[in-house]
């Protein structure tokens, strides 16, 4: 029977191959259909503008943003020789240096004390995460008042202790620090929430076993909590770094980049260059600088995090 069936079988095999190929194509189409909305929007609002930004950064434009003169790397050379932009970069890095460790250390402390099983702990957790629900604009308004030269609480407290009033937002020496303080406050909510989540995912048997071994509180903190929390900390640091480089709202609300450009952070500088001075070319060059900084941070995160973070 086998021998008789060969020609028929051969046809069957051919047909089979065709159907399987068709099914494969259909599956591909189906997959793409599910992804299409995301891919289309990413293309319009992410990939295209990224390419366009790079393109614009090599041109001078008229004030509606139409490229007019090709200038090569001149925009880049100009911004890096401009004291204003260099100052802006310096302020940005200082700002990052103030806010990232500040927010993380405070949040870590809060997360640790809020991770205990106590009555009413839910209330404290809610309090600690509350700043996540407060918008940049509202938070800036709150702090604007606290920083107010005469009525503000900070200066009132200082005058109680007999210290001279500080021009929190108006003194070039203080402005960046003041903005940083308010930013730390704004970022605590989110950072706290993530760190608390990380702490709660640590297996409590580790602590029970350490208790039996007679390890003290701080020993456990150092030897169990922090090492087990390191992937979470790592993630939080990366997010905080990226967020810090993208800061805009509080600058716009509190200082408008002043005094003496001391708080002219990168994104604010891009905004000012593009939408106030209509210098789209140089602004694009600055935007590319921002993109590269973020790219480097994320790449470092991927590289370092490879061992801990699995994207599978």
């Amino acid at each position: 029977m086998n021998q008789l069936a060969i020609p028929h079988d051969h046809l069957e095999t051919l047909e089979l191959k065709n159907t399987l190929k068709k099914q494969k194509i259909l599956r591909w189409l189906k997959g793409m259909l599910f992804l299409a909305p995301s891919i289309i929007l990413f293309s319009i609002f992410l990939f295209y503008p990224l390419a366009r930004s790079i393109y614009l950064s090599f041109f001078l434009t008229n004030n509606t943003g139409v490229p007019t003169v090709f200038v090569g790397f001149e925009n880049y050379i100009n911004i890096f020789t401009s004291p204003i932009f260099r100052n802006s970069l310096q302020s940005t890095f200082l700002f990052v240096l103030y806010t990232v460790p500040g927010a993380i250390i405070i949040s870590l402390f809060l997360a640790i004390i809020a991770n205990e099983k106590l009555k009413g702990i839910g209330f404290f957790r809610t309090m600690f995460s509350s700043t996540m629900g407060i918008s940049v604009a509202a938070a800036s308004v709150f702090w604007m008042f606290l920083f107010h030269p005469t009525m503000g609480w900070l200066n009132q407290i200082l005058s109680y202790v007999g210290v001279d009033a500080i021009g929190w937002l108006t003194d070039p020496k203080w402005a960046l620090l003041s903005v940083s303080i308010s930013t730390i406050w704004m970022n605590i909510g989110f950072t706290f929430l993530i760190l608390l989540g990380g702490l709660q995912s640590i297996d409590r048997y580790l602590y029970e076993s350490a208790d039996i071994d007679g390890a003290g509180y701080f020993y456990q903190l150092r030897r169990i909590t922090l090492p087990m929390l390191s992937p979470t900390l790592f993630f939080v640091i990366t997010v905080a770094l990226i967020n810090a480089f993208q800061t805009f709202g509080q600058i716009d609300m509190l200082t408008r980049g002043g005094p003496q450009n001391q708080t002219n952070l990168l994104v604010y500088s891009i905004y000012r260059e593009a939408f106030m001075n209509y210098q789209y070319g140089p602004a694009s060059a600055q935007a590319i600088v921002l993109f590269i900084i973020i790219l480097i941070i994320t790449l470092i995160q991927f590289k370092l995090g490879e061992r801990k973070v699995h994207y599978q």
Binding site: D9, E12, L16, T19, Q23
Partner: protein, 370 residues
Amino acid sequence: MKPVELINISKSYDQEQHVLKEINLTIEKGEFFVLVGPSGSGKSTLLRMIAGLEAITDGKLKFNGKLVNHLPPKDRDLSMVFQNYALYPHLNVEQNILFGLRAKKIAEDEQKRRLMQTTEMLGLSDFLKRKPKELSGGQRQRVALARSIVSESPLCLMDEPLSNLDAKLRAQMRMEIKRIQKKLDLTMIYVTHDQVEAMTMGDRIMVLNDGVIQQVGEPIELNNAPTNLFVASFIGSPKMNIGSAYIENHQIVIEDTLRISADITTVTGWLKERKFTVGIRAEHIKQTTEEHATHQLEVVNVEQLGNETLITFEIGNVLWTAKWLGQWLVSVGDYVPVSISMENIHFYDTNTGDLLKAAEQEKEREGIAL
């Protein structure tokens, strides 16, 4: 027309890793067919290929004479029960059971009729409005079963459906599944790693190892004439006692220690000058009186199972276990008289593991390990 035919079916990943090699198999209508093998043997993959959940690399799969390699699962007219039951957690029992019927847009009153019938058969009528997480393991199992039955597909596939249940429930469900299968005249392909399940449920069994068929046959056949050492040690509980052997002075010498007189005329021809391995089932190391004993063996371990006793002896470098019905008060260190008969011994080629000669006498039907 056979309901299921596998012709030279192979499976490999990336053209390298061969999971299944040239499987040929025909399954009869109304048959309870069991695929058994250790984990990683490819038995689940084979079942999933039959279901259409896994692509067939090579070969032909035919249902009722028609090629179905390319058909998606829904067009193969079969039902399947999964190891983890695959119950939809957000649907209640009734919705879970009717899931497939609704997907296929079967008429409402027909749905109702089948639901009534099935839930009554499985004793689920009182749980229809419960969610899966409010059910016990056994009840979930029944829901999965009901979902399969309600489809009224002639072919039913089961992938280790009982492995998440405790031992008692498992024994009960074994009977129930078998009963339903016979009652509805289903063609069943059942995957398990548990040889007891295979032996008790299967009309026919296929033993699979490393993607290669070891033996296909009825349970008795597998027990009485395992075609190779793998099947011999895989089927039966406790597993078959195995030892290397040679012939010397008209005697078979096992593990250099145990000597058994052989009727040389029946064995010399094909055993001479060959390294071979012998196997004997635990129930064939028989308890006997001093005068009928062929050997006196030292006991190294005793397991009292209540209705039977497992006694372990050391034979050279290997441990052999005897299974005696009833309760025997022996203790470690005792020498006990046993009788081992030539006619209960299976002979295997040491190098290939293939059966040279099955035991002559496997008449004792109580000897089938259950």
